[in-house]
């Protein structure tokens, strides 16, 4: 036990750090979903959830580089045009715990990729798949669902809300109905 504890601790530290700090600029191969199925979906509110992927999608959420890339793309692709820095406008707010189409990263990925009724357009083919994962991971971080040690900090810009690593925990934001 005396020796085991430091070993376990350091092993955990190693794993956590690797996952958080790695900067893989070609993550598609890791996910194995570079090719996308035909552009037909049967989306409807409250419909079936997308099957959870082989759990590699979770890597995006725990990785600081992917989260920060997601944040960059969120601005570049003008997601704020409708979601207003996550606060919601024409589109729903992303900083609360209300998820119309599910809160899992797979659901958010599907939302961005295939669009949703009432306004969310489909970005299939418009955004490479790994960047959709990065965006989905960042959207989850907006509501305090990413590890604090990996979540992005503030931008060098006007400050619309506390940075993602300073947001209250998902638990305190209130559960979705």
């Amino acid at each position: 036990m005396n020796r085991g504890l430091p070993c376990v601790l350091s092993a955990m530290l190693v794993l956590a750090a690797c996952q958080r700090e790695e900067r893989d600029t070609r993550p598609q191969s890791a996910l194995g979903s570079g090719d996308q199925p035909a552009a037909v979906t049967a989306l409807e509110p409250g419909g079936q959830r997308p099957a959870s992927s082989n759990n590699k999608a979770g890597v995006f959420e725990a990785n600081a580089f992917h989260l920060s890339e997601g944040k960059r793309l969120f601005n570049w692709f003008n997601c704020s045009g409708c979601h207003a820095n996550g606060g919601g406008g024409m589109g729903p707010a992303l900083m609360d715990q209300k998820w119309l189409y599910g809160s899992s990263i797979e659901s958010i990925h599907a939302t961005i990729r295939d669009g949703r009724p009432n306004g969310m357009p489909s970005f299939r083919d418009k955004i490479p798949d790994d960047q959709i994962w990065e965006l989905a991971a960042f959207v989850r971080a907006l509501s305090g669902n990413a590890p604090k040690s990996a979540a992005p900090s503030r931008d060098d810009d006007m400050m619309p809300h506390p940075s993602e690593n300073r947001l209250p925990d998902a638990a305190t934001l209130g559960k979705s109905p």
């Binding site: 900067r23 600029t25 090719d35 570049w76 490479p128 798949d129 790994d130 960047q131």
Partner: protein, 338 residues
């Protein structure tokens, strides 16, 4: 100690030999008045410093050649000799001070000369640094005459040009050594760099402030042309993009607008209007791709689109996942954008 003398001589010889070389990104091969002034300054300082260095080394080495004096009491010193040394040290110190004052004045006046270069610049170009490319905008009073391009800066030869430089992300530094010294591009600040190329030619420059993963591949080119050629170029660049001429290019055009390309890039005359990546309206008229990383050619264009992260790891251009036909079509379209 002979070896020490040897290496001194070898070093000096090497320096002279190597310094004769020239290059298209070299401070020693000036092609404009600012760089000329600076090259002169570099040579003058180098010569003076070499002389001082040789003198110091001579004073260090000469006593070693003399026969060693017998070892006596270390505290018994010849008072007269010490006084003589003191006089020499004070004289050397005075000489040092004099040289330094001279050099300070010299660099002050050189600085004034540099500042005077762009006082009558007719052309203002705004250069904005991005990770890892340069956005170039030719300012004009008429909004329809404002031109935005990337990475390559055409200027009229023999005329002073004013560059207003800034950055939207991190600090970069604009440096074309054949023409001028460097100036930082700092977010929240605007700096002004005046430069002039004496003769037509292509001068390479490179980001000189560490700016992240692809700092090494962030080059720029200044292309100095005679005034008429420059005017023609400017007029040409202001036109919208050429329409696709072949079926393949037409397919490429359609694909460009349907695929991720359209999210970031702009092609004038189409609905592609992204401003976060280089403007591609006349991409085929440029000499290089990806901020000087690759020479412009069909093969390189295809390679760059197929695997940007293999060529420039960390760059913001993602791997898009096109099949062979799609890739060929897009390349065919881009190749036509002269």
């Amino acid at each position: 100690m002979n070896r020490l003398v040897c290496s001194v001589c070898c070093g000096a010889a090497c320096m002279l030999l190597l310094a004769g070389c020239s290059g298209w990104q070299s401070a020693l091969d000036p092609k404009g008045p600012a760089a000329g002034e600076l090259a002169w300054l570099i040579w003058f300082f180098t010569a003076l410093c070499t002389v001082v260095w040789l003198l110091v080394m001579a004073v260090l080495i000469l006593p070693l050649a003399r026969r060693p004096a017998p070892v006596g009491d270390p505290l018994v010193l010849d008072a007269a000799a010490e006084r003589g040394k003191m006089r020499i040290v004070v004289a050397a110190l005075a000489a040092t001070a004099l040289i330094l004052v001279g050099l300070t004045l010299l660099s002050y006046f050189a600085n004034r000369t540099l500042a005077a270069i762009g006082s009558d610049a007719a052309l203002t170009i705004r250069v904005t640094g991005h990770q890892w490319w340069w956005e170039v905008r030719y300012e004009n009073d008429q909004p329809n005459r404002i031109l935005t391009t990337a990475n390559e800066i055409h200027i009229p030869a023999g005329e002073p040009v004013r560059l207003v430089v800034t950055s939207t992300d991190v600090i970069h530094s604009f440096w074309v050594p054949n023409l001028s010294g460097k100036l930082d591009l700092i977010p929240g600040h605007e700096n002004v760099l005046d430069l002039k190329a004496d003769k037509p030619g292509v001068y390479r420059g490179q980001c000189a402030e560490f700016c992240g993963a692809q700092h090494a591949n962030m080059s720029t080119f200044i292309i100095a042309e005679p005034r008429p050629v420059f005017d023609a170029w400017l007029k040409d660049q202001l036109r919208p993009a050429a329409a696709p001429v072949s079926t393949e290019a037409q397919t490429g055009h359609d694909l460009f607008l349907k695929r991720p390309c359209v999210m970031c890039h702009k092609i004038g005359g189409t609905i592609a209007g992204g401003t976060v990546a280089p403007d591609l309206t006349h991409i085929a008229s440029r000499r290089t791709l990806a901020a000087g990383t690759l020479a412009m050619s069909r093969g390189n264009l295809a390679a760059w689109i197929a695997d940007p992260q293999g060529i420039k790891p960390g760059a913001h251009m993602p791997v898009v996942g096109l099949n062979g036909d799609e890739l060929n079509a897009i390349v065919a379209y881009l190749e036509g954008l002269k």
